[in-house]
């Protein structure tokens, strides 16, 4: 009993999540040493809005990537959701919460469409979601043209109850966005790691044919992962709209690459079959803190932030590739023995 627990602990410490946690702690220590303002919860948590969409969406894009697919349309769904909420409320005369519900349904339909083509027509996921990203960006623009407000201005003037959604703070510290993220992370963790549904997702990623022959409805499950990731994009879109107080059709247009970065950094294999929600969540936070801490503590300009994120991704994937290389790993082991 004791041994198995210690083995489990040992296994966890050599796992990818532990590496991510290590990088995270390292970041916090370096930033805090440089500038003590960094540790103030108000400053620290106040910047959450810049990264919350990446955090939320990457949780569920992990599902898609574990099945061996890829989803590059999630960013465009954020904008579509935002504008559907705005137009539904302002021009459609809907209750704001009904408009938000409508937006989630619309997003789910978008995800279902792409998922259908991927799962039932065997089209390459990259192409379908590439087409989807064009299509949904376009539709978002058309929806915004239906509104009386010019599209570049964005729709604003939402009711207080909706704006308050993002201004609420638990115990006066934890912003509601963090709560949404934590709640979704728990949901995603349970779905992926504790239910039959999650096991099936992993099986499909390892070998879709074997999964199909063992009686799993692989197509339906693949389709469902796209629906989930689209719905998470919708949640991110609603949270972002509430925070900004403005509905715009081009929100989230730059999110595609950071989302994939977070998922891959979190240890998910792009070929499928391996990955974890905890890893993705940690990676998303690592990227977020990097983007927040560098300007605050090292006066790095916002525009340069693509470099550290890109470098982090490159270093991590190169490191993993080298570690997996038999020559390098035997050399490392030999060194350890001495």
């Amino acid at each position: 009993m004791d041994r198995s627990v210690s083995a489990k602990i040992k296994k966890w410490f050599t796992s990818w999540e532990a590496v991510m946690l290590g990088i995270l702690l390292l970041e916090i220590v370096i930033f805090a040493a440089k500038n003590s303002k960094f540790l103030m919860p108000r400053v620290f948590l106040g910047s959450i809005n810049d990264i919350i969409s990446i955090c939320i969406i990457s949780l569920f894009v992990t599902f898609v990537m574990i099945t061996g697919g890829i989803d590059i349309q999630a960013g465009s769904i954020v904008g579509l959701t935002s504008i559907v909420v705005g137009v539904g409320w302002q021009d459609g005369g809907l209750n704001i919460w009904a408009a938000a519900g409508l937006a989630i349904v619309v997003a789910a339909l978008c995800g279902a469409m792409s998922g259908f083509f991927v799962a039932y027509c065997n089209v390459q996921p990259m192409v379908v979601t590439l087409g989807g990203s064009f299509l949904f960006t376009g539709i978002a623009l058309l929806v915004s043209n239906m509104s009386a407000t010019e599209s570049y201005k964005g729709i604003s003037g939402f009711p207080d109850s909706f704006i308050k959604l993002s201004k609420f703070k638990l115990f006066g510290v934890l912003p509601s966005q963090v709560l949404v993220f934590l709640a979704l992370a728990v949901v995603a963790y349970i779905l992926l790691h504790k239910t039959k549904y999650g096991r099936k997702i992993f099986m499909i990623g390892v070998n879709q044919n074997a999964a199909e022959y063992s009686g799993i409805n692989t197509r339906l499950i693949i389709m469902s992962t796209y629906v989930l990731s689209a719905m998470s994009a919708a949640v991110a879109g609603i949270v972002l709209t509430s925070y900004l107080g403005t509905a715009k059709s081009d929100l989230g247009s730059t999110l595609t690459l950071p989302i994939i970065t977070a998922v891959v950094l979190g240890g998910t294999l792009s070929t499928g079959g391996k990955g974890s929600v905890v890893g993705t969540a940690l990676a998303a936070v690592v990227i977020g803190i990097l983007k927040f801490g560098l300007p605050l503590c090292f006066k790095v300009s916002q525009q340069y932030l693509d470099i550290p994120v890109g470098l982090l991704l490159l270093i991590v994937v190169i490191g993993r590739a080298l570690a997996a290389n038999p020559k390098v790993s035997t050399w490392l082991r030999g060194k350890q023995k001495k």
Binding site: V127, G131, T137, L142, I307, V317, L322
Partner: protein, 346 residues
């Protein structure tokens, strides 16, 4: 005759027919479109995407992907434009841009083929770094005040209303097609994309080929960047944002399979024309150009879904034929062989 058949069966032919049909239908609605000048402008305007798509076609044909070409375009054009502004001759500027493109391509190729990192992820990381470097290099400012000689050159006509740039694009695309289909080393690209283990077994240097594909892709993106500089006349730090997605879409529209090994550079060039004509066509049809992305998305999804479904049907049909030939016994040996050949050409 067999040569004609071969042309008709090529995957790019579908895209070409689609392009002709598109132009024909638009002309039916608004006959102004049929004037040679407006058709020629569709071709001339596609020159940047033609180079980007032709370059990334090399990479996609080997079965990989490169999402950093938008950033490569931005970086190389920033370097080239800065040199031009500071008084260098255009030859020096273009050479510097091409070197930048080749260097980034080399890094991509090294990461993907030597280190064995999935191409989407590696080029994604490179994309981020290069995007940031553009800001570092330009200091976040626009590169403006380029010599008028250079920016005017984009309007230079060769024959009729064909610009020099597009004529150059046609020559390069045809040359690339010739190299890919007729020369020994060129055929390696498609061989690697079609079946990488098979290519290794017959002694094709797969790593070198993939690195070469990435370098060529970078060089093409750099050339596209210099043409972009000439056409636009100034370079912003966000130049080329999202162009990688449009170039990939152009390749897909041109009948190149993202799994590698299928398609041609000519197809990519045709796809680029379709991609960049959409907004112009919308104007002729009396729509606002806001429909641009929607139409692109619908076209992309429709074309890909239809071709994939048809392909899958053909594969299943061939399998059945093979099975039937086998069950027919020794008498069916010949039919089996014929069916296998058919399967190979699908």
């Amino acid at each position: 005759m067999s040569y004609l058949k071969k042309i008709l069966k090529a995957r790019a032919m579908g895209s070409f027919l689609f392009l002709v049909l598109l132009f024909f239908l638009v002309g039916c609605v608004n006959s102004d479109f049929w004037q040679p000048i407006s058709i020629m402008n569709c071709f001339n305007d596609s020159v940047v995407f033609t180079f980007l798509a032709a370059g990334i076609a090399f990479v996609i044909l080997t079965g990989e992907i490169d999402v950093s070409i938008g950033a490569v375009l931005g970086m190389s054009s920033a370097v080239g434009a800065t040199l031009l502004r500071d008084g260098s001759s255009w030859q020096v500027a273009v050479l510097a841009a091409v070197l930048v493109g080749a260097l980034i391509g080399l890094v991509n190729g090294f990461g993907v083929s030597v280190l064995g990192i999935p191409s989407l992820i590696f080029t994604l990381g490179v994309n981020g770094v290069v995007r940031g470097l553009i800001y570092v290099y330009t200091g976040g400012a626009w590169v403006e005040n380029l010599p008028a000689d250079y920016t005017k050159f984009s309007n230079q006509l060769l024959i009729g209303s064909l610009t020099v740039f597009y004529a150059f694009a046609i020559v390069v695309v045809l040359a690339a097609h010739f190299i890919l289909t007729k020369t020994r080393r060129g055929k390696y690209f498609i061989a690697v994309g079609d079946n990488i283990s098979g290519a290794t077994l017959v002694g094709i240097p797969t790593r070198q080929t993939k690195i070469m594909a990435y370098v060529l892709c970078g060089v093409f993106a750099a050339v596209a960047g210099m043409i972009y500089t000439s056409r636009i006349g100034f370079i912003t730090p966000t130049a080329g944002n999202n162009y990688e997605m449009k170039a990939i879409a152009a390749c897909v529209l041109g009948g190149i399979s993202l799994t590698g090994g299928q398609g041609s550079v000519i197809g990519a060039a045709i796809g680029a024309i379709i991609m960049s004509s959409i907004s112009r066509i919308l104007v002729f049809l009396g729509f606002s150009s806001d429909y641009d992305n929607t139409i692109t998305g619908i076209m992309l999804i429709t074309i890909v879904v239809v071709t994939t479904v048809m392909q899958n049907r053909a594969v299943i049909k061939t399998k059945h034929e093979i099975l039937r030939a086998r069950t027919a016994g020794s008498r069916g040996a010949q039919t089996e062989q014929a069916a296998t050949e058919k399967g190979g050409s699908v």
